[in-house]
Amino acid sequence: MAANNAPTELDKEQIFGMAEKEMEYRVELFNKLTSTCFNKCIDKRYKETELNMGENSCIDRCVSKYWQVTNLIGQLLGSNRPPM
């Protein structure tokens, strides 16, 4: 039997499916990050419309730490690729 290196229909579906799951993962990561840092940093009494200085710097640090936790747990799970 001759070797056939062209991807079959099913292979292609797999590749697209994989890409789709990867993108869903990124969207979900971003949404969880956004929601978690909102809970950690934002005053829920909503006394103003603008983010104040304390909130802004909290957000920056929160994103940075969340990113580190993502990498840390990624290492523990044995994945050696970056989270994105």
């Binding site: 993108m23 990124r26 949404n31 934002i42 419309t49 940075s64 990113w67 970056p82």
Partner: protein
């Protein structure tokens, strides 16, 4: 969510590029609709406490507006920081 975060399509053949791009559009539509739903749930939960009337009072309405605007500004800032970190990770490769 910024479309550029979802990956680089330049290396694909034309037909697959179209399909991938359609897929990204679909994901973005779903994501905005979900974001809309979550924002409503969050601001309702945080701002509406009493059920003695069937209409929002002035105070609740103000709270909902601020909550939504604050969330959107927050989300934009997170997006900027997140993109920076992503770029850093990409150039490290």
């Amino acid at each position: 969510m910024d479309k550029s975060m979802l990956g680089d399509l330049d290396s694909l053949p034309e037909e697959d590029k179209l399909r991938m791009s359609a897929m990204i559009d679909q994901l973005q539509i779903r994501d905005s609709l979900r974001m809309y739903n979550s924002l409503v749930e969050r601001c309702f939960t945080d701002c509406v406490e009493n059920f003695r009337r069937k209409s929002l009072d002035k105070q609740e309405e103000t709270c909902v507006r601020r909550c939504a605007e604050k969330f959107l500004k927050h989300s934009m800032r997170v997006g900027m920081r997140f993109a920076e970190l992503n770029q850093g990770a990409a150039t490290q490769d």
